[in-house]
């Protein structure tokens, strides 16, 4: 290491790596001029380090804190809670978003297939040559009533039969 390089390193001595510091130390052992410069620069540097502990005094710290707090834009705790809950609900990771999207697609595509009830032919829309015809609401209500009437008639017949059997 030459003296010019050593001077650059001396100014940034505290920021050097251990290896770099060792190189500088070796040079200083053999160079009186650089050694003298190192001592002088370290003395001056210590002046800056001495004022690290100095703190600028705030005349009235409590009043200053009050002043800062009063200058803050208002946001209520309740509003913040709501905002946090809302953001927590929709603050999804890409994986979560993907899963939800896939679930929705599956639901809308195959949802009908998973219906537990067998389809009522009377409630199905009329199909002609594979084309779904429009449903008349009045027809649908009438069909429902007829079905209910048929069920009640069957109940009466069943009851009469059981009565006749009991008389016998």
């Amino acid at each position: 290491m030459n003296c010019k390089k050593a001077e650059q390193h001396i100014i940034l001595y505290s920021e050097l790596s251990i290896a770099e510091k060792t190189q500088v130390d070796i040079h200083l052992e053999n160079c009186v001029a650089c050694q003298r410069m190192f001592t002088t620069l370290q003395q001056r540097q210590s002046i800056f380090n001495n004022i690290q502990s100095w703190n600028a005094a705030i005349k009235d710290p409590v009043a200053f804190t009050d002043q800062i707090m009063e200058a803050l834009p208002k946001k209520s705790v309740q509003a913040e809670k709501k905002r946090n809950t809302f953001s927590a609900l929709f603050n999804w990771t890409p994986l979560q978003t993907g899963l939800v999207a896939c679930s929705l697609i599956l639901f809308f595509t195959f949802g009908g297939e998973f219906s537990r009830h067998a389809p009522n032919p009377q409630l199905q829309p009329p199909i002609k040559n594979g084309i779904v015809l429009s449903i008349n609401l009045q027809d649908l209500i009438q069909a429902k009533r007829e079905r209910a009437a048929r069920i009640s008639l069957a109940d009466i017949i069943r009851k009469n039969q059981s009565l006749a059997l009991s008389k016998k």
């Binding site: 001056r44 800056f48 001495n50 004022i51 100095w54 703190n55 600028a56 800062i68 209520s76």
Partner: protein
């Protein structure tokens, strides 16, 4: 609540509790004010900056990343606000005034400025003659005692860039210190 760890205070402040935020302000206002004062060397300007910094923190609390120290985040915001203030035309006019003050300070005897208060004032005046980047690096490193990593996070500069600015800042500052503390009269006395 005053004794709560900082992370819990931040969480409560994020939920909108002003008292938790007040405790954060109380803990950090002195450090923030000192940092701003070192940059601007003016009490009113420093107070303005501190207030603005805490308002920014309050507004952006939901963006706070727990992996970064709260003080580092505060340093970053305060330093940026100070640099903006320095760059503004208004402060440029004050800077001219500062250079006048510096001449006055230079004429004082070493005995008079040995007091830490006066020494700090002298160094702060002298630092204002550096470029904004050099000033920021010098203040954070040599006057605030931040590590290289903390300066990197606060200023968003590379280590190489920081070292380069610090090198020129120290050269200039040592030259100014030399004129005050290491004049031939002080050596002979």
């Amino acid at each position: 609540m005053h004794e709560l760890p900082e992370t819990e205070l931040i969480q409560k402040a994020q939920q909108g509790h002003p008292l938790a935020f007040r405790y954060l302000v109380e803990r950090h206002q002195k450090m923030t004010y000192t940092l701003a004062y070192r940059f601007l060397n003016n009490a009113d300007d420093a107070k303005d900056i501190v207030q603005e910094a805490f308002i920014r923190i309050w507004k952006n609390l939901d963006q706070y990343k727990p992996e970064v120290k709260f003080s580092t985040w505060l340093y970053k915001i305060t330093t940026n606000l100070c640099l903006d203030r320095i760059k503004s035309k208004h402060h440029q006019q004050q800077k001219n005034q500062v250079s006048e003050d510096f001449k006055i300070a230079s004429s004082t005897t070493p005995e008079k400025i040995l007091e830490q208060e006066e020494l700090a004032a002298f160094v702060h005046h002298a630092a204002q003659t550096l470029t904004p980047k050099q000033q920021a690096v010098f203040i954070l490193s040599d006057l605030q005692g931040l590590s290289m990593n903390e300066i990197e996070e606060s200023l968003g500069m590379s280590k190489g860039n920081i070292k380069s600015n610090l090198y020129y800042a120290r050269l200039a500052m040592q030259e100014k210190i030399k004129n005050i503390f290491f004049t031939p009269s002080t050596i002979t006395s």
